[in-house]
Amino acid sequence: MLEVQKLSMRFGGLLAVDQVSLDVQEREIVSIIGPNGAGKTTVFNCMSGFYKPTGGKILFEGREVQGKPDYKISRMGMVRTFQHVRLFTQMTVVENLLVAQHRHLNTNMISGLLGTPNYRQREQKALDRAAYWLERVGLLELANRDAGNLAYGQQRRLEIARCMVTEPKLLMLDEPAAGLNPAETKELNQLIISLKEDYNVSVVLIEHDMSLVMDISDRINVINQGKPLASGTPEEIRRNDDVIKAYLGEA
């Protein structure tokens, strides 16, 4: 489904990502791990179109997407969250979910002004989908609160819900468990598994919480200092000497 081939990203003299490859199949959870500064988020930024990679290819469903503008990649069905939650803080929770469903603004400008039945139907559908996902992540009661007033864990869940209302095929989560307490992490764990099982979404995950990664990943890619270090199932990674060295230092 997603294939990243020898991706490189150079910022001036700094080679932040060097020949990283990974692939994601349908209904699969693939994690990218590595020490801080290893270039995980840079890989994400290249995949989601925020950066134009300086080398390599990214194929999504057989089509090259590297260098395409971010909003087009998102419309193809690759949607991401951010390491630091990026909500529309002064808008309400439900408005956050509505915005995500408004990709084609111009086509319905006139019908919206006139309030045609077709337009209303679409608005209602968007509302229903928003309500569905709010219920799913347990935020329905807070639908009309400002998103900025939610607790941190709720903001994290809202961000995932906001991605899901766009009906993505591939979800990219950048450290979704950062700042969550153990109970919330557990909930998140279940949510991500259910996204895969019940909604047929593939997930690419960057995470530092090893228990989460080991629990839910089908495969793991390890990056160190921009270079691919290892890849395999959680069991293989756990036993890989290079990975242990990278994380714990040379003995």
């Binding site: 925020f50 909003y71 998102s74 909500l87 002064q90 808008m91 509505l98 915005v99 400008m109």
Partner: protein, 423 residues
């Protein structure tokens, strides 16, 4: 603590002296061709010193003074009450607003000609401020050259009427569309800019338009402006004493009433009122539509908006275009009201005042912006005697507002959306 307080108070008093002495205490007088500097009356000096003393005392006792102010009973008798139920309040608000609009329809027949004229100006500013509110308040794009689009609308009508003899009703959509087009054209180069950079570029753009109008004398008449802009007609009926155009009839003859110059002014006021109401309704509609939410999303977090598939180009350009469109609307009405326009009317100060209206009213809040437009336009008229100190009062009011209500007169309220639980 006390010493600190004293030092601060002394500093404030000295600043007061430094500022007020040259402004009030020194006068320039023309004697022949020379200018001499003379002192003011003794009473003025006494007043300056007294002012400094007042500032000093206030600053020393500021904490206790402000503390007492805070303990005063709340002036708003409704403050302690439970907020009304959402649906009920919306209904009540819409009734009150409808009532105000209906009252505004009949109001001009009761008051003097000057008041109606002023009210027309207020309505023009309401249109402008509502339009700028889209760009600044909703989309978060700081536009300091908004008056350029106002000028485009006004000059479109003036030029077209001069060269092709077009009527007000034809010019209204053309002026608005051209202004909208200008907005879009300006939008392209500034797509990547935000904040300060955007402000500078739009400021420059506003000046370019004004200077262009000023210097392209062959077309626009330069600083002499364009006169003889026709008044609007009502189904081909003119409001002048004598019919200017072949085939038209005059209003007072058709209805068999005596000619009165008020008719025209009231008619213009009613046009402005209807247009302002239309503007408010359309923009209100936009705010509840996908495009309106997209504007706000872009203001809140551009990166997140893009990651969700919103095209920055489409969102920003639509905000610029729609904002400019309504400025063009206002410009056409303004040209028709004045009958004469020159680049003088479209200076940067106008942009600043419109922006001030939006900020005072509360970014994004339509009702707040309308209230602020009324206040900002009418207050200087009421305070005509203090005309010398108008900008001073204006500035002081702005500072006070920013201290007490930084979010504006009526901050924007989120729309409550009812959701049905999905199974």
């Amino acid at each position: 603590m006390a010493a600190n307080n004293l030092r601060h108070a002394l500093f404030c008093a000295i600043v007061t002296l430094i500022i007020s002495f040259p402004i009030l205490g020194l006068n320039l007088e023309a004697k022949g061709i020379n200018i001499t500097l003379t002192g003011a009356k003794t009473s003025t000096y006494v007043a300056i010193v007294l002012a400094a003393v007042v500032v000093f005392v206030f600053q020393i006792f500021r904490d206790s003074f402000m503390g007492v102010l805070g303990k005063l009973p709340n002036l708003n008798p409704l403050a302690g009450r439970e907020p009304m139920e959402q649906s009920k309040r919306v209904k009540l608000e819409s009734w009150i607003l409808t009532g105000i609009v209906i009252f505004a329809l009949f109001w001009p027949f009761l008051v003097s000609r000057g008041s109606v004229d002023l009210a027309t100006l207020v309505l023009i500013y309401i249109m402008l401020a509502l339009g700028l509110n889209v760009v600044v308040g909703l989309a978060g794009l700081l536009d300091l050259g908004y008056v350029a689009f106002y000028a485009v609308g006004a000059y479109t009508f003036a030029l077209l009427s001069q060269y092709t003899g077009i009527s007000f009703w034809m010019a209204l959509p053309i002026g608005a569309l051209l202004a909208g087009l200008t907005g879009m054209i300006l939008g392209f180069p500034v797509l990547r800019l935000r904040g300060d950079y955007l402000a500078i570029v739009t400021l420059g753009f506003g000046e370019i338009i004004r200077i262009l109008l000023n210097n392209w004398t062959t077309l626009t008449g330069g600083p002499n402006g364009i006169g003889g802009i026709p008044d609007p007609t009502l189904f081909g009926m003119e409001f002048g004493r004598r019919v200017k155009e072949e085939g038209n009839t005059s209003f007072h003859e058709t209805f068999g009433i005596a000619y009165a110059s008020e008719h025209k002014i009231i008619f213009l006021y009613l046009i402005a009122l209807v247009l302002a109401v239309i503007t408010a309704l359309i923009i209100r509609r936009f705010m509840r539509m996908p495009v309106g939410r997209a504007w706000e999303a872009l203001r809140e977090d551009e990166i997140a908006a893009r990651s969700l598939g919103l095209s920055r180009t489409a969102v920003k350009l639509s905000a610029f275009t729609i904002g400019a469109f309504f400025a063009g609307f206002a410009g056409t009405v303004f040209a028709s009201k004045q009958g004469f326009i020159s680049p003088e009317s479209f200076v940067f100060l106008e942009s600043a005042i419109i922006l001030a209206i939006v900020v005072l009213g509360g970014m994004g809040s339509q009702l707040g912006v309308i209230l602020a437009a009324i206040a900002v336009t009418i207050l200087p008229e009421l305070a005509r005697e203090f005309s010398e100190y108008r900008m001073l009062i204006f500035g002081a009011a702005m500072v006070l507002m920013m201290v007490w209500r930084p979010q504006g007169l009526l901050p924007m309220r989120r729309i409550h959306i009812k959701l049905n639980r999905q199974e």
